[in-house]
Amino acid sequence: MLSLSNTIRETGATLMVWTTAALITIPFLWLIGDLLWHGWPYLSLNFLLSAPQNAGREGGIEPILVSTGLIVGICMVVALPIGLGTALFLSEYTRNDQVSGRLIRGSLDVLAGVPSIVFGLFGNAFFCQALDLGFSILSGGLTLACMVLPILIRTLEESFRTIALDQRLAAAALGISKMATIQHILLPAAIPGLLVGCILGVGRAMAETAALIFTSGYVDRMPTSLMDSGRALSLHIYDLSMNVAGGNPNAYATALVLVGLLISINIVASWIAEQWTIPNQLQN
């Protein structure tokens, strides 16, 4: 039996929880609505396929899209082999309590927490200066690869760990070598997880700004080589809104493009995850 004071407390709590939900939903809808409202009118095919003019106030974002693609591409090309190798090593060659595995995991966990601006400092000192790559798309991509690596490894390792132990035991019983087991059994079975991991890595790289300011630079021309400086989408938004008076309309449109890309990436990733986990669960 609920007493009166209990009923009051209960109603109060319900009210508080629903208010909280509303408090978070409102700014989210406001943000998305604001981007759509102000960005949509400026968005056109022409905007995507023309060069910025007048410091970005007019024109489009074609070279910026190309630079972003190149930076993210380099990031994934470098991070994926290292990430895949490390994830395989952690899941197939170490036990949870083994020192080497714990050391690697620990260092990656710390690395995952390092702020992106510190990666920017590191990239500037290491790639731009020590390796003499200068402000270039290559430096930016490599810096992002360092940043994405911990998250990539965690997702990839997770996707290997979800594969049933039976499959490995069966392969071992048949005398299949370990490398062949990995190549023909574990990798194909882990493909959906690998895809999701890669997609999330791409998303993270594409959203990054602070790590790119002093590594890939500001130049908004079409890049002709990987050693050229190139401006990423996120940096374009920053520059237009902070340093260019009257740049807001194009900043809105660029932000809409970036958020649109990221949301579609997220949707694809969760779709893949849903498509593949249900049949896998049925199998087991």
């Binding site: 609920l2 939900a21 989210f28 990221l262």
Partner: protein, 295 residues
């Protein structure tokens, strides 16, 4: 165990090369942290030896051209913005996890969770942009100048709610249902079950989320750079503009040379140490077993 150690019967050479290849790659990944720390240290060495660590706290202001490098106002800016946003985001994040799990109808809860996940994926520069064009003018209309500590706290809150909420949600859903069922059978009301049973049982997860959120808030650069006004000062109230360590690096790296550049790397080093401390606390917490799982 046949799966994990070297006692597999395989005598194939390719297997051996392959496993060594994996070892090298893992070593590369693991040594990245050392490389990052090493290079940040190396670049900050000049300022450490020529200026000395103590002067970063005792100089009378941040005037790099006159070799005066006081970073305490920036440290206070970073800490105030991060703690302020945690004070708001922790209750909001935990309550919205509770909303998702206990109050919302299943479909609404699912959509709410999706929305929070989307919020987590929105880049910080977009948050900063929205703060700059929407939030800052609103604050300016209420209490000038507009770009302020308050703006930074509000934007950061929005950005770290997803971190806290998603971790809280997963640790709340791990609380054994027997706890909840028993409490309900004893006649406890819904809120009493949450307040007395669920939240205490999942406190480790809640704390982990809060510490990770704090680390994220302190490391955040773009959003805070765009809404905080970037004046180097100790704020006297919440409407004063501030500059954080991260914003300082982002603003001055472009033209900093020699000692000045090295001083910026010191603030990076400091930031890294602070964040490593909070992440380590979160990791230690994460590996603690929160409760004995009743079968």
């Amino acid at each position: 165990m046949i799966l994990f150690s070297n006692n597999t019967s395989s005598r194939s050479n390719t297997d051996r090369y392959f496993s060594w290849g994996l070892r090298v790659l893992s070593l590369l990944a693991a040594s990245l942290l050392v490389l990052v720390l090493g290079f940040i240290l190396r670049e900050s060495w000049m300022a450490l030896t020529q200026v000395g660590l103590s002067r970063f706290f005792t100089d009378s202001g941040w005037f790099p051209t006159e070799h005066s490098y006081e970073i305490t106002p920036m440290i206070s800016g970073t800490l105030l913005a991060a703690w302020g946003s945690i004070l708001l985001a922790a209750p909001l994040g935990i309550l919205s996890a509770v909303f998702c799990h206990f109050y919302a109808p299943p479909i609404l809860g699912l959509w709410y969770r999706r929305m929070i996940e989307l919020l987590a994926g929105i880049p910080s520069v977009v948050f900063g942009f929205w703060g700059l064009v929407v939030l800052v003018p609103l604050i300016a209309a209420w209490q000038p100048p507009g770009p302020s500590l308050l703006g930074g706290i509000l934007i950061l809150t929005l950005m770290i709610i997803p971190t806290i909420m998603l971790i809280a949600h997963s640790s709340i859903s791990q609380v054994p249902t027997t706890y909840i069922n028993n409490a309900t059978a004893l006649g406890l009301s819904r809120w009493a079950v949450i307040w007395r049973i669920v939240l205490p049982a999942s406190r480790v997860g809640l704390l982990t989320g809060i510490f990770l959120g704090l680390a994220r808030a302190m490391g955040e650069t773009m959003a805070i750079l765009m809404v905080c006004g970037n004046v180097i000062q100790y704020p006297s109230h919440i409407f004063d503009p501030i500059r954080t360590l991260t914003a300082n690096i982002a603003l001055e790296m472009a033209y900093a040379l020699d000692q000045h550049r090295s001083a910026l790397f010191i603030s990076g080093l400091l930031l890294m140490v602070l964040v490593i401390i909070f992440v380590s606390i979160a990791e230690v917490l994460r590996h603690k077993t929160p409760y004995v799982v009743a079968k």
